[in-house]
């Protein structure tokens, strides 16, 4: 795991009971940040505290206890492919509780109703569209009533309608369940409509933070490039390479 540091001098403070967006160009380590927050990987230095607990010194059992208070929505849903939609949502309940079948049924159906897929309870994951799979995964993520809900790129590859549905769900779930939500995304327009606070990452640092409005009026070049979707700027269009003409004109010396 040697090589360049992904984060260097990163400080973030995520407020309870709000929707926090983490944005940034591809490859800035947004997903790595989520893995750090959830304790899937550990930082070489620095501290990460979740609900007052230092992730680095947490023992496995305590980590699992903490994770029961978190829900995470993976990029493609990550539904268990050998279980039906119903059983996928029931999975955390069956693993962690001894609730009677009737109660499990009620809980699962309520959560599915919240994401609008009660009618799809008997389908298998392979029969779902991308947007539906993500909504089922969302139902699964909230079935244990977490305090923290994390979304990893929830809009990638969705059609505009599904995207609108997910956006509405993020906001509604956050407000009705009193959650803390963290959304990692690079869809500027979409995320601006739901986020309370935005962190913009680039080069391993927070380069800007604030409400979506504040970010839009931020004068710095990197923010303008990202928010405006400009091809070239502080984040260069070209991957680092030797001089163009030099390379074209060089004789092919068995490169």
């Amino acid at each position: 795991m040697s090589g360049r540091p992904i984060f260097d001098g990163l400080t973030m403070n995520i407020q309870r009971a709000g929707v926090t967006a983490v944005m940034g160009p591809s490859g800035t380590g947004k997903t790595t940040l989520l893995r750090l927050i959830t304790g899937q990987v550990h930082a070489d230095s620095g501290t990460i505290e979740v609900a007052g607990q230092d992730m680095r010194t947490l023992k496995r059992a305590d980590l699992y206890k903490l994770r029961r208070r978190m829900g995470m929505l993976f990029q493609n849903g990550a539904l268990l492919t050998d279980l039906s939609v119903f059983e996928n949502v029931a999975f955390p309940l069956r693993e962690h509780t001894d609730l009677p079948e009737r109660l499990i049924r009620q809980l699962v159906l309520t959560k599915l109703q919240a994401v609008g897929l009660r009618g799809a309870a008997d389908l298998m994951p392979s029969e779902l569209s991308g947007g539906m799979a993500r909504r089922v995964a969302l139902a699964r993520a909230i079935v244990m009533d977490p305090e923290l809900l994390i979304y990893d790129e929830p809009f990638v590859g969705l059609d505009p309608i599904s995207m609108g549905v997910i956006l509405r769900l993020i906001r509604r779930l956050n407000d009705t369940l009193g959650l803390t939500s963290i959304v990692v995304s690079h869809d500027v327009k979409e995320i601006s409509t739901v986020a309370d606070k935005v962190f913009l990452l680039s080069g391993g640092k927070v380069v800007a933070s604030g409400t979506p409005q504040e970010l839009r009026s931020d004068p710095s070049e990197i923010v303008r490039q990202f928010v405006g979707g400009l091809a070239d700027g502080p984040v260069p269009f070209h991957y680092p390479a030797p001089d163009y003409f030099g390379e074209l004109l060089a004789r092919g010396e068995d490169s």
Binding site: Y64, R67, F74, N76, E95
Partner: protein, 255 residues
């Protein structure tokens, strides 16, 4: 010099790999008590691994037995002792062909299925999703599959030997005209308890080895299409070599 260096390096690499497998094995063993409390998961996997391979095992057993009947009859006839066919076929099947051929077929059928299933679960984030739901994938997914395979394999080997003996009888007695009474009585006289034990020990060892290799390769597969393919191939190749190697060791040990 370079060749020696590379050989040394590959020796080191394979030792590191072996160490990783052993560590993984201990992780599985430690989780066994917890998994046994949910025996329904194991039973489902015994059914999965066993039923998957049953038809191919039975068919192969029949043909191997028939070949044994034919070859054995030809050979024994030269010495005028065709009646020994029953004993020869039974000893060969119970001690060698049953465990070894079953293990090779098992690796090709159930082992590859296990490896690709786990590899795909890794590639589609299902294993990470479980960890995020505070469910240990080793306990929930890997160890039940490992135990299922390890239990199914000796049962399959027994079925293989049984059907093989029937196949030998079919050719020897029904077609070649060996006396039925002496076929069976020679078999009863010629097969010791020690032979049976050897077969049982071998099939247990092969079952553990093949299942371990399959779940190890699948669990550690690179999460890409190519990676899952590689894991599947390596499962078959490694299993075959390991089975034949252990077969030699165990045969020597039982002499």
């Amino acid at each position: 010099m370079n060749v020696i260096k590379e050989l040394w390096q590959s020796l080191l690499d394979s030792l590191v790999g072996l160490g990783a497998v052993v560590r993984f094995f201990f992780r599985l063993v430690i989780s066994i008590p917890a998994v046994l409390l949910r025996f329904d998961l194991v039973v489902a996997q015994v059914w999965n691994a066993g039923a998957l391979s049953l038809v191919i095992i039975m068919l192969s057993g029949l043909f191997v037995g028939m070949v044994l009947g034919l070859q054995g009859f030809q050979l024994l006839q030269r010495f005028g002792s065709e009646e020994a066919l029953g004993a020869a076929a039974a000893v060969g099947l119970v001690k060698e062909l049953g465990p070894v051929v079953t293990a090779l077929l098992f690796a090709g059928r159930a082992g590859t299925a296990l490896a690709s299933e786990l590899g795909l679960m890794r590639a589609t984030d299902q294993l990470s999703a479980m960890e995020m739901m505070a469910v240990d994938p080793i306990k929930r997914v890997v160890t039940p599959r490992f135990l299922g395979g390890a239990i199914a394999m000796p049962l399959l080997a027994a079925i293989f030997s049984l059907i093989g003996i029937y196949g030998a009888q079919l050719i020897g007695v029904q077609i070649m005209g060996v006396d039925s009474g002496s076929f069976w009585s020679q078999m009863r006289g010629g097969v010791d308890l020690a032979d049976i034990n050897e077969g049982i020990v071998k099939s247990i060892v092969f079952g553990v080895a093949c299942s371990l290799i399959a779940v190890y390769e699948g669990y550690h597969a690179t999460p890409t299409a190519a990676g899952v393919g590689r894991a599947t191939t390596r499962t078959v190749v490694t299993s075959a070599v390991v089975v034949l190697f252990f077969d030699y060791l165990l045969t020597a040990a039982f002499l």
